[in-house]
């Protein structure tokens, strides 16, 4: 992505002059506060949004140049894991994972069965194949969504907040799966998150975003020891720093005085 700007309306840009380049085969993390534009970045990469200025290039092609069919062809080489799984609630786990295979290929049911079982085995949920999404716990649902996302062996995996809301065990499981899948598929993974510890252990490279801009980048080692104020505050969870504790407000004395009257 080069010099991309994006805004839903021109007065309030969501992304300002963002340049990110993600090499093949690596696991890259994009971190930042809620609302800093990380998810928008992900959607631009996925082709769901077009940058207002600048460009995004995926698999060597500009997203701007793609027509509907081209866009769909590009997306078949990608997999995306949504924040809470986004499983299809009217289908069983098996049908969810088999969805892409049934829609995009003409494989016979026996072959699909084997493939689905393989994917579920990789995430450890082969036994849950006949359950409905409403019967799954959060962590299990996310693992099924992961199996569904990798159903057609994509070359690019996008993860939108994969660690949010999970217990420590599930956290560890997901993190391990992300790494394993990336390496075994020879794919590239982009993780958007604000879970510092997991990301630092997992990724090859990190980008930090604040306020729609990229403020810092580096590999986990350098990030841990970074003395850059924003990175420092973020990584060590300090309450005050470049990101202020107080929401902008008139002076405290003035407010108290007003109330006292």
């Amino acid at each position: 992505m080069e010099n991309a700007w994006f805004g839903y309306d021109s007065a309030r840009p969501v992304l300002r002059d963002v340049s990110v380049s993600i090499p093949r085969g690596r696991v890259v993390g994009i971190m930042g506060q809620s609302g800093c534009g990380k998810t928008t970045l992900l959607r631009i990469i996925g082709g769901a949004l077009l940058p207002s200025r600048g460009s995004a290039r995926v698999f060597g092609t500009l997203t701007r140049d793609l027509d509907r069919d081209g866009l769909y062809a590009m997306r078949r080489r990608m997999g995306m894991l949504f924040q809470f799984g986004a499983l299809f609630t009217d289908m069983s786990v098996y049908d969810n994972v088999a969805f892409q295979m049934r829609e995009h290929t003409d494989l016979p049911e026996e072959l699909i069965h084997d493939l689905v079982m393989m994917k579920l085995q990789a995430v450890g949920l082969r036994g849950a194949a006949q359950l409905m999404p409403s019967e799954l716990s959060g962590g299990m649902a996310r693992r099924v969504a992961l199996a569904r996302a990798v159903a057609l062996d994509p070359q690019l995996m996008l993860y939108d907040e994969p660690f949010t809301g999970l217990d420590p065990i599930s956290l560890g499981v997901i993190a391990r799966l992300i790494r394993e899948l990336n390496d075994s598929l020879g794919a590239t993974s982009i993780i958007v998150s604000h879970d510092v510890d997991e990301c630092l252990d997992l990724v090859d490279h990190l980008y930090f975003m604040a306020d729609g801009r990229v403020v810092s980048e580096g590999d986990p080692q350098s990030v841990r020891g970074s003395r850059e104020p924003f990175v420092d505050q973020f990584v060590h969870g300090k309450p005050d720093g470049p990101v202020p504790f107080n929401y902008p407000a008139p002076s405290y004395d003035a407010d108290l005085e007003l109330a006292g009257r």
């Binding site: 866009l71 997306r75 078949r76 949504f82 892409q100 829609e103």
Partner: protein
């Protein structure tokens, strides 16, 4: 100053009208797109059959029960009035024509909108809110073709059938009250009805009406669902809008269609 307030009022009115027109245009493009991409709904017919089940079969109970009651009320009220002019034998005619021409399509349409229409809107809206629609798009499957179109066609197919069942049930209800309970002559009931109800003029027109209502309700239901803001309030607002807009649309279309179809007379 009164002038300023008046001006503000008109500005708001104009803005409101513009917004509605824009939304209507957007909804029309949506309809056009969906119709173009309805191939999937027809090629993979089981998807559509599933939707016929959910909007049609599951509405059967409310339609049949309502039809029966409406028919029975028609029988009672109709008899009261006709008796006064000594024409109680025309009860069959009254019940049949009221149902086939108007009450069948309209009431069945209103019931369909509130039961099936709101369910469709809620379902699609919820799928949008839980990112299932986005997930489908990211998997290169067109959600409009796969989720929206089958529900639309399911509604369009179910509506005329439900209206016919409503009318039939209503006539049966009128028969129960008129002939069995009150004692109108059975032969007169049926024979006068057959003489007065015409296949082309009345029944066919009623079917056309229910078909048009089906298209309107299904269109509104899927559009509101797809366009709903992905929040709890958003989905609930969309569901309410479906029921209200569908009901108004049915009544307005009914007036237009009735004026077109039943002008009667011998004006040439």
């Amino acid at each position: 100053m009164a002038g300023g307030a008046l001006r503000a009022f008109f500005e708001r009115l104009g803005g409101w009208v513009t917004a509605r027109v824009w939304r209507l245009g957007f909804a029309s493009r949506f309809l056009g797109y969906m119709l173009l991409h309805s191939g999937t709904a027809l090629r993979r017919f089981p998807l559509t059959i599933r939707e016929i089940y959910f909007s049609g079969v599951l509405s059967l109970v409310i339609i049949l029960v309502s039809g029966l009651f409406v028919g029975m009320v028609l029988g009672l009220q109709g008899y009261n009035t006709l008796e006064r002019y000594g024409s109680s034998e025309a009860l069959g005619v009254l019940v049949a024509l009221s149902l086939v021409r108007e009450l069948g399509p309209v009431v069945a349409g209103l019931l369909f909108a509130s039961r099936a229409g709101s369910a469709i809107t809620a379902e699609i809206g919820l799928m949008k809110a839980t990112e299932q629609i986005s997930a489908m798009e990211m998997m290169a499957v067109d959600p409009i073709a796969r989720v929206v179109a089958p529900r639309f066609w399911g509604g369009v197919i179910s509506m005329p059938l439900l209206a016919a069942l409503f009318s039939a049930m209503g006539i049966f209800g009128g028969y129960l009250i008129g002939v069995r309970l009150i004692g109108v002559d059975e032969g007169a009931f049926w024979s006068q009805m057959q003489a007065a109800v015409d296949l082309r003029e009345d029944i066919l027109n009623g079917v056309i009406k229910s078909f048009v209502f089906g298209i309107a309700v299904s269109w509104i239901a899927v559009f509101e669902g797809y366009d709903a803001p992905p929040t709890a309030e958003g989905v609930s607002g969309a569901t309410t809008r479906t029921v209200v807009t569908s009901s108004l649309a049915i009544l307005a279309l009914d007036f237009i269609l009735t004026a077109l179809m039943f002008t009667g007379g011998n004006v040439r």
